[in-house]
């Protein structure tokens, strides 16, 4: 390094490097300038100066200098290394890898560069490259533990677990017998566990178990030891020993569901779908009874039997389980039991389903407590709160069964009984949301929030309700109450608060503010990029700390990161925005286009260039400004990094994309890669590709939809729309068109839904199959109108003839109608927009008002959409964005009447 310089300057160069490593950038800069005074063209010095400036937030200068340095000294590995570091700091890993490779061509055995390269290869999952680099590092420095481990992990990631084991064993061969020293026992133990998990992974189960037993004394993590042992025993089919070991584990933690599940598997009493024969149920019952006697303090051992018991036995177990929890007052009891409500349909009709039994049971408890203050068949008096918790449970029960009126009666009674319990208001808010009154739900959630201003959870729940009711401004203010710097909106972004960004994006989307909606959706996408980025530091850290099992698990998690539900929602939201943008380009853009269209082509070109130049200039200026402000920020407040202001807070720039569908395709590809089993992915793919006239890709989407769920109304819609569109196209002229045509001709017979049927017949056939389902009828009607526009009245009649049948429920308090609010709203919108029949839509609304009295959409008589509603005042206040925030004495005067929100008589003392 700096070899071409005279001694004095060479020393100065060493100083630059040292200053960079110790973050004394100013000192380094001075030294660099001193060299450059004498040797203005010295490449390595120029590069190092650039790298130093990069750390002082002077990016554009940095790139200039580093590139100049490299140009002046292409043969220097230092210059290439520095260039790589620069790219790495900007997360341009592919470019960085190229630079490192060039540096290594000049200096192949440079450990530092090799190590940096290996990190990048791990990050980019360049696994063959990673293996090579790690091998080289090990060859160069075989006495470093980290190099052995790195080489092992590289082979493991490259799907060669057995090779990885060999390397670890070779490494163990280099160790002394008395290894490890006391201060490295944990690391060594982790290494051993990692090795055993590798053996398990490549199927050498016997050897894994043998190794585990042999090295047992050197494994510090005793729990991991046992869990590994039991896993191996199960895989080896040594079930009796495994069962014994599971019992040992249960003694250590009798609330770990996985141990119970494992034990059940070992004794042959486990079924994936939770269905058991009567004989199995008896055996299971016996097993859990005996376990329950051993682990009296375990709640899992009491809860699990509720999942398999039936009939009277279920009743008895549920009764024993629920009573003490209602007495104690456990607000989460209903969520604990709510999986039981999904058990419906699993059983024969003759058997009462769990939910009905629960209803009967709780009503009995309620009745008895009301009458006597005691549970049935008990002599002890219950505390007064038991009645309130019972009502609380019942309210959630009826909410779950969509009997909202009863649910509200119960929760109101509970609030009347004890108006200070916050959970009551939260549940009432949730019931109202389900019943279709989002404004009232938001008001109730706000009331709950006001009761404990120090509780972030209640605050967040309230924010969510506000966003669902499209009160975005208010929601933002409320959310900011719990951020560090209350006024800085960015803080929510920095906290990666994705539920907020998604809900906010959805709300903006509903309100037609596509810019802000996109902004939020893309912010979530950015978080996922950041999470991917975050793994970088662990490539070196974990190898050093030997947390190898956790490290590999983390890498595997990262590999499927984008299949996470939040990412899916964000990407789908963004795609929807782009589709809408494509269908109705924003006013701004069209105006601009108008202006453009008046110009001659040559003028247009000039104007475009001018615009581009202006943009580039603005960008440069902004960058310089940011650098200045951050530079001054650094000098003033030391370490504090001042964030540049968001140049596009309202997402207006996002709306100015040239080709929205191209943007949509970017995110669509991610969905197709990571959520290929989601119907929504292919529905969106269909919409995008139909608009792009990509016939074959749209066909792909249709085929995927049919694969996933051919009976879904939306799948049916896409199928019919696709072939209808194809049928109406003109005969092919171009060769490519002819090719597409041939593919379609070949594919159509393979689609069973259309086999030897016309589209009209296929539509009718679909109706026959699903004639009792509202949503299917609506889809058929819509398609009928598409296929035969002259038969619109038939289509509308098809919808209007749908019957809202009662769903059979054994409950004591009356049956439930089958239709869901969400579906009825969709049908209303369909009548209004797709079938454009306002009268039919009105008739539909009148019909739905009866079914959904709390729905604001249908202006139900109990909803806050009515002028005399008790929630009305509040809803209006919220629209004005006047939050009832803490700090003042005006804490929500309107909500001072315990969940009823009615005007309260003014009284004073």
């Amino acid at each position: 390094m700096g070899a071409s310089l005279p001694p004095k300057e060479a020393n100065l160069f060493k100083l630059i490097v040292k200053s960079y490593e110790t973050k004394q950038y100013k000192k380094g800069l001075k030294a660099a300038d001193a060299i450059l005074k004498k040797f203005p063209d010295h490449g390595e010095t120029l590069s190092m100066k650039g790298l130093t400036l990069n750390c002082m937030d002077r990016k554009s200068e940095a790139y200039e200098l580093v590139r100049l340095g490299l140009k002046n000294d292409l043969k220097s590995h230092v210059c290439w290394h520095v260039y790589g570091l620069l790219y790495r700091s900007d997360r341009e890993y592919r470019e960085a890898i190229k630079c490192y490779r060039n540096a290594l061509k000049i200096d192949p055995d440079n450990i530092e560069i090799l190590r940096d390269l290996s990190l990048l290869q791990a990050q980019m999952r360049d696994l063959t490259g990673f293996v090579e680099t790690r091998q080289q590092l090990l060859t160069l420095k075989p006495n470093h533990r980290m190099n052995w481990i790195g080489f092992t992990v590289a082979h493991h990631l490259n799907s060669n677990a057995s090779k990885a084991v060999e390397i670890l064993e070779a490494y163990e061969g280099t160790l002394e017998d008395d290894y490890p020293p006391d201060n490295e026992r944990c690391e060594h133990g982790e290494m051993l566990l990692y090795k055993i998990s590798l053996l398990e992974e490549c199927g050498s189960l016997e050897r894994a178990l043998e190794e585990l037993h042999k090295k047992g004394s050197k494994i510090v993590d005793k729990l991991a030891y046992k869990e590994q042992e039991v896993s191996l025993l199960v895989k080896l089919g040594r079930l009796e020993e495994a069962a014994e070991l599971y019992r040992v584990l249960l003694a250590m933690n009798p609330d770990n569901y996985r141990y119970y599940e494992g034990l059940q598997k070992c004794v042959g009493l486990y079924s994936e779908n939770g269905r058991y024969s009567a004989d199995e149920i008896d055996k299971l019952d016996g097993l859990y009874k005996s376990l329950g006697q051993q682990y009296t303090w375990s709640s899992a051992v009491k809860r699990i039997p509720l999942d398999f018991l039936q009939g009277d036995k279920f009743y008895e177990a549920a009764d024993n389980y629920i009573r003490p929890l209602l007495t104690k007052g456990v607000p989460s009891l209903f969520s604990d039991l709510s999986p039981l409500y999904d058990h419906a349909g699993k059983l024969h009709f003759a058997v009462m389903i769990q939910a009905d039994i629960l209803e009967k049971l709780i009503l009995e408890l309620e009745h008895s407590i009301r009458l006597t203050g005691r549970y049935p068949r008990r002599t002890d008096k219950e505390p007064p709160s038991t009645l309130m918790w019972t009502l609380f449970f019942l309210a959630q029960h009826y909410d779950r069964r969509r009997q909202y009126e009863i649910a509200l009666t119960k929760i109101d009674e509970a609030i009347e009984h004890t108006p200070t319990v916050i959970d009551l208001y939260s549940v009432k808010s949730r019931i109202l949301k389900h019943a279709g009154d989002l404004a009232a739900a938001s008001a109730l959630a706000d009331e709950a929030r006001c009761m404990d201003l120090a509780d972030r959870y209640i605050n967040s729940e309230c924010v969510k309700r506000m966003l669902q009711a499209d009160q975005v401004v208010l929601a933002e203010k409320t959310a900011l109450l719990f951020t560090k710097d209350g006024d800085q909106h960015n803080n929510l972004h920095d906290m990666q608060c994705m539920w907020y960004e998604l809900a906010s994006g959805e709300s903006y989307f509903r309100q037609g503010d596509l810019g802000r909606a996109l902004k939020k959706f893309l912010a979530v996408e950015k978080h996922y990029a950041d999470i991917t980025e975050d793994q970088f530091d662990f490539h070196s850290y974990c190898l050093r700390k030997m947390t190898l099992r956790a490290y590999v698990a983390m890498l595997k998690f990262q590999d499927r990161l984008h299949s996470n539900a939040y990412f899916h929602k964000a990407a789908a939201g963004a795609i929807r925005c782009y589709i809408k943008l494509h269908d109705s380009p924003s006013k701004l853009a069209t105006e601009e286009d108008d202006e453009m269209s008046k110009l001659l082509p040559s003028q247009k070109k000039k104007k475009r260039q001018k615009l581009k130049r202006a943009e580039a200039r603005a960008k440069r200026e902004a960058e310089v400004k940011n650098e200045e402000s951050s530079a001054s920020g650094v000098s003033k407040s030391g370490k504090r990094h001042v964030k540049p202001a968001d140049p596009d807070p309202n997402g207006e720039k996002l709306l100015q994309v040239e080709d929205p569908l191209l943007e949509a395709t970017k995110y669509l590809k991610l969905l197709q890669k990571n959520s290929s089993d989601s119907l929504e992915t292919h529905l969106l793919s269909f919409e995008v590709n139909m608009r792009k006239q990509k016939i074959l890709l749209a066909l792909q989407a249709v085929k995927q939809l049919l694969r996933l769920d051919a009976e879904n109304p939306d799948s049916h819609r896409c199928l019919i729309r696709f072939f209808h569109k194809v049928g109406s196209m003109t005969a092919p002229v171009m060769d490519t068109e002819k090719l597409i045509w041939r593919v379609l001709e070949a594919e159509r017979p393979s689609i069973s839904e259309l086999h030897e049927k016309s589209l009209i017949e296929a539509n009718k056939f679909f109706l026959e199959k699903h004639k009792d389902s509202l949503m299917h009828r609506a889809a058929v009607a819509e398609m009928q109108y598409v296929l035969e526009p002259n038969k619109k009245s038939d289509a509308i009649k098809l919808i209007e003839d749908s019957a809202n049948n009662l769903v059979p429920v054994n409950g004591a308090l009356g049956p439930v109608k089958g239709w869901k609010l969400k579906d009825c709203i969709a049908v209303h919108k369909l009548l209004e927009t797709a079938l454009t029949d306002h009268d039919a839509a009105s008739r539909w609304k009148v019909r739905c008002v009866d079914y959904f009295p709390y729905s604001t959409y249908f202006e139900g008589k109990c909803s806050s959409a009515m002028p005399n509603s008790v929630y009305n005042q509040i809803g209006k206040n919220h629209e004005n964005g006047s939050a009832s925030l803490p700090g003042g004495g005006k804490i929500a005067d309107s909500v001072a009447s315990n969940g009823k929100l009615e005007a309260f008589k003014e009284l004073t003392i």
Partner: protein, 162 residues
């Protein structure tokens, strides 16, 4: 579980973060809507205003105002004391009142007083048990409820010597 099971009763202070609990209680308990000054006084009284929790549910409260008498001595005015109906008879009111009385003797405050509607015999008897006596009657004290008259109940606490 069973008879004789101890349900814990605990007291907690009122702060701006949980003052809504007190408002909820008052709305349920009293036919009067209290103004901002009431809550400001309650918050200012510090330990003299307490919420009572019955197995972690807020079910009652005592709210006081500290008043300066001529000459600088402080007396305590109990603005409200109440427990939600289902939770009465469990000693919660007693616990709250005793807390305030204990605090008074600790801080050498010699006078505690309150107003009570003249027909509210239950309340009058309750306070008499703690050594309160009727010291005055104010005609037409209330404006919106009948009877509009009230008694002043006062307890004088013997000063403990330092």
């Amino acid at each position: 579980m069973g008879a004789g099971r101890e349900v814990s009763i605990s007291l907690d202070g009122v702060r701006d973060k949980n003052v809504m609990q007190l408002k909820k209680l008052n709305t349920a308990l009293f036919p009067v809507r209290y103004n901002d000054k009431y809550y400001a006084d309650a918050l200012a009284s510090g330990d003299f205003t307490k919420l009572a929790y019955y197995s972690d549910i807020c079910v009652g409260a005592i709210a006081c105002r500290l008043e300066k008498k001529e000459g600088g001595a402080v007396r305590v005015y109990i603005m409200t004391l109440g427990v939600l109906a289902p939770y009465r008879g469990l000693g919660i009111g007693t616990r709250l009142l005793n807390h305030v009385l204990d605090l008074c003797s600790k801080q050498n405050i010699s006078e505690v007083y309150l107003h009570v509607q003249t027909n509210n015999e239950d309340a009058i008897n309750f306070y008499k048990k703690f050594g309160f006596g009727i010291t005055d009657t104010i005609q037409n004290y209330y404006t919106n409820i009948t009877p509009p008259h009230c008694y002043v109940l006062t307890k004088f606490i013997a000063q403990t010597k330092k």
